[in-house]
Symmetry: C2
Subunit: 486 residues, 2 copies
């Protein structure tokens, strides 16, 4: 029996070429059991006419399915579902009755009640997306990234694509980071002192598992990167939040008994403060007194369009007590999930073993693609392109903020991609964000960055890495109008 | 001043096109500070002659660097390092003096003393690689994987490539797994019951963090997947190894008080035993008595070339107490780092939150590439191609084993990609493996799969997924010869 041409539909807005869509439609029909072994496909002429595509498109899709042994061709009589085509499932799935697991008892630990900053999944549809840390389509060098990815898919790179590195990384990427990226932050590191991570989040998590645990004491900045609170909570360590000032974390506020200090000296998150060099030396001295480790999250150092960034804290560290965390999420794109950490060998050895236990290694293909993108100079070119655009946006947002009488609580002196803002005391910025959402404006409420029960609720963050300069003034006007009406 | 043509060398065996190599060489010269702003590059004619390449190759490399603003062109006088080119590091890296960290105190937990199965990094050079779980160049459909990856790099997929999914996954991949992959194992699952992981290792780790902890009791098979021992050790739970028989894990041996049971019912690792359906029901019954969770590692079900695989244990689970773990590492390639887990919603909710904390999500691009590869039918075509080859290799290896008088301890009844072997009692297979290494034969010693102090040392595993059939007989002869000489 022939398969009726009427069972074929091209989905409106379907993805991929027409040929790929047709091929997929037939493969899915076979895999789902709708089309059976020996059934005859419509002729290419008929199917092409039905779908309104050219006949060669259908023929090419059939040829591909022939090569994959989904179809067989019988002389002139046409195409049939192959004897060797995959068979649909044999088992009837069980209808679940009542589940009997006592989940309160079964779950040894809970992770799902954390405090995450909600990003609307449709933020790209917003007219005024003051969102932080997402890729800007207009700035990312997609064409060259694609070329590098294709190169990394080549036959020469088959092993780096498919191989199990066990606990190792792509040597090309490690070499580039050691020779070119780290020296710009004043850091000298050997390959065995560097580990590739799945983004900075993954690096911070690894430090929390290795350096913290029951009975340990961590000090974090207040306010700080919101995901850090959840990391600390899950580490079983006790945590002291330390209020930052205009120069970042005050070393003298770090209490005795502290084992690990989490800090963002070059660009405090979220206040954007830069720690002066003298204070950095004091911080290292205080850590030495305590015999404490320091985890330095050096995010966004690349976005330095107003002045040179300070050298990393790690560059001043003679003791080997600083673990440095870098990321390509902001400068490339967050979906890449690629970062790195630098530390003394005894630390990196543990981090490497733990990473291996948890997921082995970041996929080889993305490591190799990044290595090419970096070593061909595309990365630096992209940073400069981004920096130019961010500089213009920064000027525009500062002007608009001033013109509308809004209050800046922190702005990165060397650049960055966000402004830390303060609304009047009576304004709850979570409510503000909700109201603005209805006006197609996205802002980030600040409460999640603070620790403890009495979090200030009147701060907010304005990211300018995903909004074009010409949109900024109207967006800021709307923010100001809603604040005035509060 | 001009940059001398003599400072340019093409590395022998360098990767990528000649144009890319030249571009990279110049970009690295600038990034490392060897070439300075305003310096003149050699003319394309001169550099081409020096390197022995065509002039157009050099010109194209220069043009690309011009576009990236590394170089500027001044009329007819040539190419110069651009004013806007990235600047080399400003800071002199600190020379580390003695490190002062007390690492014994600083490290809260240690992970680096685990028991990993050493795979020689150069195993592809071996004449007889009886290695397990690596990609076979001759069987993997590299061309179509590449096409799918390129499609997933397209403009339409920009968001899935670059976006931060936070705690979500690629909806296309989830949909395919729910609609096509799981029904073949008899499993019905909604999207919120599925989580994509960085390989099966990552899924197993997530279960250990969520279901285990201090005071909990785990039961594992003995022997079992070697990395499971390390997972158990790091979970702080107590662990009971249970000796498997020819039907896998005996349910009656599971002690009272057990909280979580780790099992490989369809294809016991490493003995390859398949658990009969009656015992599966007994296992579920025993778990219900104990109110215990079961983690089912359903590896290699795709490699069923001798008979249909049994439906998954999860397909019989009405209670919601089975967490199912699947992987694409064996059927695609391990460097992909892609697997998935299926469980009741309360469990997957925690796994999703923990994954988000640890690394957010597997990179969007690899998820989308896999979704295309699966939905276009390439995956099933590949499985059938692999199965054909594995069937031939299996027959060859069984014949060779018999001809050489070696002893099989377990062989997968429906297929698989390895044989579980037993040498005479006095043979230490770790020593055997070392001796064979000098003869270009790789085998896997079996002791790492066993638990406890008195591990049998005379078992070994022969993988046949990365050795061609024509190599197998000579390889087995060498194994047999060395065992006879022991």
């Amino acid at each position: 029996m022939g398969i009726s041409v009427d069972t074929f539909f091209l989905k409106p807005g379907g993805q991929g070429t027409l040929q790929a869509q047709i091929q997929q439609m037939i493969a899915e029909g076979i895999l789902s059991g709708r089309f059976h072994v020996g059934e005859k496909l419509p002729s290419s002429r008929k199917l092409a006419a039905h779908l309104g595509v050219s006949r060669i498109t259908v023929t090419l899709a059939y040829t591909e399915l022939l090569a994959n042994d989904y179809l067989t061709a019988k002389g002139r009589s046409g195409y049939y579902v192959s004897q060797n085509a995959p068979v649909p499932p044999k088992y009837t799935p069980v209808q679940r009755s009542e589940e009997t697991v006592n989940w309160d008892a079964a779950l040894a630990r809970r992770f799902s009640d954390g405090d995450f900053l909600a990003k609307p999944p449709d933020w790209r549809e917003y007219s005024y997306p003051f969102i932080y840390g997402q890729a800007d389509r207009t700035l990312f060098d997609h064409a060259n990234w694609r070329l590098c990815a294709v190169r990394a898919l080549g036959h020469k790179d088959f092993d780096s694509l498919t191989g199990d590195y066990v606990d190792q990384d792509d040597p090309l990427l490690i070499e580039f980071i050691a020779r070119h990226t780290l020296p710009r932050r004043g850091i000298a590191a050997r390959p065995e002192e560097i580990l590739i991570t799945l983004g900075a989040q993954n690096a911070l998590w690894l430090t929390s598992r290795i350096l913290l645990g029951h009975g340990r004491k961590a000090a974090i900045e207040d306010p700080s990167y919101y995901a850090l609170h959840e990391l600390m909570r899950c580490s079983d360590a006790s945590m002291t939040p330390l209020r930052v000032d205009k120069d970042g974390l005050p070393p003298e506020s770090i209490p005795d008994g502290t084992d690990v200090i989490y800090t963002t000296p070059s660009h405090q998150c979220p206040t954007t403060a830069t720690m002066p060099v003298a204070r950095r030396h004091d911080l290292l001295k205080r850590a030495r007194e305590l015999d404490a480790m320091i985890v330095e999250d050096d995010y966004e150092f690349e976005m330095a369009f107003l002045g040179a960034p300070s050298p990393a804290l790690k560059s001043l560290d003679k003791d080997g007590r600083v673990v440095y965390v870098g990321s390509f999420s902001k400068s490339l794109f967050p979906g890449l999930r690629l970062g790195y950490m630098v530390g003394s060998e005894p630390f990196i050895r543990e981090a490497r073993a733990l990473r291996s236990l948890v997921f082995r290694h970041p996929p080889g293909h993305i490591q190799r693609t990044a290595a090419y993108f970096l070593s061909l100079g595309h990365y630096d070119a992209q940073i400069r392109r981004m920096s130019k655009a961010l500089m213009q946006r920064r000027k525009t947002i500062e002007d608009a903020i001033e013109a509308n009488g809004l209050t800046v609580a922190g702005r990165g002196v060397f650049g960055g991609s966000s402004m830390w803002m303060k609304a009047p005391d009576h304004v709850d910025t979570a409510e503000l964000a909700k109201t603005l959402q209805n006006q197609s404006v996205h802002i980030e409420p600040g409460a999640a960055f603070f620790s403890g029960p009495d979090r200030p609720r009147n701060y907010y963050r304005l990211g300018y890495s995903s909004i074009s300069a010409d949109r900024i003034p109207a967006g800021i006007e709307r923010v100001a109008a809603v604040i005035r009406a509060c």
